[in-house]
């Protein structure tokens, strides 16, 4: 959207948005989204299978944003009250389980009772917007779009906005303006591709590190692709936080529906599937790659499925990480990444392969999942809190980044090949305000 700021602010108020109905309001994204809406929308209805479940959603929303005033704007109900509640809804926010048939059934009911001008948004993280809209009325298709929040939405502002083939473009502009201006979202428009942009690129890296853990153990894998590579939270700790079941749903979906150059890195490791059969789901089940036994930190042994005290594990010396972190600590990120690229030893090589994979995969997806690399950059920055791929290239220099990718045996995206050959220094990341330094945590 290139309109002037005053116009965007005006656009945000250009449509009546006084009542939102949240479907699946007891789920994480349901109550998280609902809490967000209560900041700016006068009435927010929490609906779930039962009134009790909706009430639980309201309690969770209140707790998440720590404001009992959430209840002043909220009402709760079960799907039995759907028809009555939808009659006055300006926005219907669907946040049911990621199950195509289940969502379809709900949309059948929504079709019957929604007002013709109501907006229907789905928070799906993986299902196709066009497929969900297929066969529905013209009014539904014109008013239907994807609004993919990241968890928890009160902390993570990155939000993907996905228009369907028939979505009214003016409506997409309005939602972008409203979500940016009133809800503080960083909106990234993505194409209707599997897992959209953020999860496609992000979970590819996460899963690759999970695969790596099978060979070198989760502690070393997480250390090698740790904060110094451009993230606050390490990859496997992220999977534990997200939940293994969610991780599986996302990578399985992408693995099934895409066939790109990195297909193999989207295959869920067998040891994870086995552990899930035993009930291992990450933090929500009491542990995943990591867990605590009193004061003792334990790490999973992928081969046996047992846990071992982290302190008893023998790790190779990783002096190079300390050198990189020391440079990051005084804000010398360019020098820090140069030290990373120059570091010797098999560990540094493994780490560079993963980062090379991240950059290469992202640049290959530009044009496919978003219009340009900037969309991918922005969702990695604001949805994952990771250094955007372009920022890594800028700090390393295009030639050095290209060399890293080729040495890792990966295919070099054309954009990077051209930039590496060019005599002129090309800048890929040009967000006027985003501080790239914040991603390079000094550890």
């Amino acid at each position: 959207m290139s309109s002037a700021p005053a116009q965007i602010r005006k656009l945000a108020t250009g449509r009546r948005l006084e009542h939102v109905v949240v479907l699946g309001a007891n789920g994480t994204m349901g109550y998280g989204g609902a809490a967000l809406f209560t900041q700016a929308i006068p009435r927010v209805t929490f609906l779930a299978r039962t009134r009790e479940k909706a009430q639980e959603g309201l309690a969770a929303a209140t707790k998440q944003v720590r404001s009992e005033t959430v209840a002043n704007r909220a009402d709760v109900g079960s799907y039995e009250e759907l028809d009555a509640k939808l009659a006055s809804a300006d926005l219907i926010f669907e946040a049911l389980t990621e199950d195509f048939a289940l969502k379809q059934q709900m949309f059948d009911r929504v079709e019957k009772s929604r007002r013709a001008d109501s907006i229907v948004a789905t928070v799906t993280s993986g299902l196709s917007i066009n497929e969900l809209a297929e066969g529905r009325s013209e009014s539904f298709r014109r008013h239907f779009l994807g609004l993919h929040l990241f968890n928890p939405p009160n902390v993570i502002v990155g939000t993907e906005l996905i228009a369907g083939r028939d979505t009214d473009p003016a409506l997409v502009d309005f939602i972008e303006a409203f979500a940016s201006v009133r809800l503080g979202r960083e909106i990234v428009r993505t194409h209707d591709t599997p897992a959209f942009a953020g999860n496609r690129v992000g979970f590819k890296l996460l899963n690759e590190v999970a695969q790596l853990a099978e060979q070198i153990g989760p502690v070393l894998a997480d250390r090698l692709v740790g904060p110094y590579t451009g993230r606050a939270l390490t990859p496997l700790a992220t999977i534990d936080l997200v939940g293994w079941d969610i991780h599986r749903a996302i990578v399985d979906n992408v693995y099934e529906k895409t066939h790109d150059e990195a297909h193999a890195s989207l295959r869920l490791p067998g040891y994870m599937a086995k552990a899930m059969q035993r009930g291992v789901l990450g933090n929500k089940s009491g542990g995943g790659f990591f867990k605590r036994d009193g004061k003792t930190q334990l790490a999973l042994d992928p081969a046996s499925g047992d846990y071992r005290p982290v302190l008893e594990l023998k790790l190779p010396k990783l002096d190079y990480i300390e050198r990189v972190a020391a440079l990051h600590a005084v804000g010398r990120y360019r020098e820090g990444l140069a030290a990373f690229l120059a570091a010797e030893g098999p560990e540094a090589e493994i780490a560079r392969r993963v980062i090379a994979g991240y950059v290469s995969y992202a640049f290959h997806r530009a044009g496919e999942v978003t219009d340009t690399i900037t969309g991918i950059d922005m969702i990695m920055a604001s949805g994952f809190n990771w250094a955007p791929p372009s920022a890594l290239v800028d700090l390393m220099g295009a030639a050095a980044a290209a060399q890293m990718i080729e040495r890792a045996g990966l295919s070099l995206p054309a954009l990077l090949r051209d930039a590496a050959k060019s005599a002129r220094t090309q800048r890929f990341f040009r967000h006027p305000q985003l501080n790239v330094g914040k991603f390079f945590v000094a550890s």
Partner: protein
Amino acid sequence: MAAKSEVYVLGGYQTDFARNWTKENKHFSALMREGVLGALERCEIAPEEVESAHVGNFAAELYCMQGHLGAFFTEVDPKFSGLPTSRHEAACASGSIALLAASAEIEAGRYDLQAVVGIEQMKTVSAAQGGSYLGTAAWYDQEAKGVEFPFPKLFGRLGDEYDRRYGLKDEHLAEISRINYDNAKLNANAQTRTWYMNKQHALCRTEDNPAVGGRIRISDCSQVTDGAVCVFLASRAYAEKWARGRGVELANVPRIKGWGHNTARLRFDDKIAESRDQQYVLPHVRSTITSAWKRAGIADVNGVDGIETHDCFTTSEYMAIDHFGITAPGESWKAVEAGWLAIDGKHPINPSGGLIGAGHPVGATGVRQLLDATLQVTGQAGAYQVEGAKTFQTLNIGGSGTTSVSFIVAV
């Protein structure tokens, strides 16, 4: 005496005020480095062009166990080694004092290009410890020693004084908070851009929004913030050269058209006693504002298109509204109710989100305000741009209304 050189503001850079540099394991010098390098890049200035640097900072000795901050400027680039640098302190007005010193040197013809850095790293200590450090901006022994969170209490008393003289309703303070938080959502560098807030929450009187000092609730407070801001001030000669190199008319390069600077007595009680029979509760603050107008040739607040004011608490913004003359003394609530303070209102205040919404890295705030004023008058403020702004005023206050500095930036 030769005519004074005009002082131009070429632009600058602000770090993301939501960052916690301690959590990033970063040293104070990284904060300085990002602020300065960001400004050099944004303004397309080569390090060797910079002739002098002024650093505004309140209390790095306490928060970071680090003094001699002027010298840290030379660590940013090898070409800075040997530059004349200095550090300035006036509590929350430290950044503006650094700006005043730099601009005076340009007016005096000593230098053509100066860097001014405002910087504070505050998340190194607990909230209680930090609150006590902030107490050194008051008369510590008499007003802050042994007091938990002394400043909210002092500015709570400013509200009490308004209440006593004119009457004051909490709902007007809550609306001021709401506006700042809403504006912050438009500012990608604002600390609170993801925080939950609306007027109902600001009016909430439970443990979700606890009282921290008299009538001051958490939602009435500015934030504990890590941040650095760097701007470049230039003489007419340098600004002409710089503008030419960028194909810009000199008339479109912002200039400091006026400034005001007053220091009142340190203790809050003494200030209030002095103003007992006057219309303005803090007359020295009023004087700072009007002397800036006078120097800029502006008659009153209608001569500025927007204001970045020092809302360390909602009561300080409430005070600023009538001290700027937006309403008659004691009637600030009228501007709040009329919606004049909104970005698209008649007298936009703190489109950036101010200290409540954008954050308050103490020594950086004055420089941040000047940068925001510069962005506004050059149409570069992004989503929080005041349409068509050509003249913007700042008000930066140190202590309990003690040191006041105001700048008017215009194209």
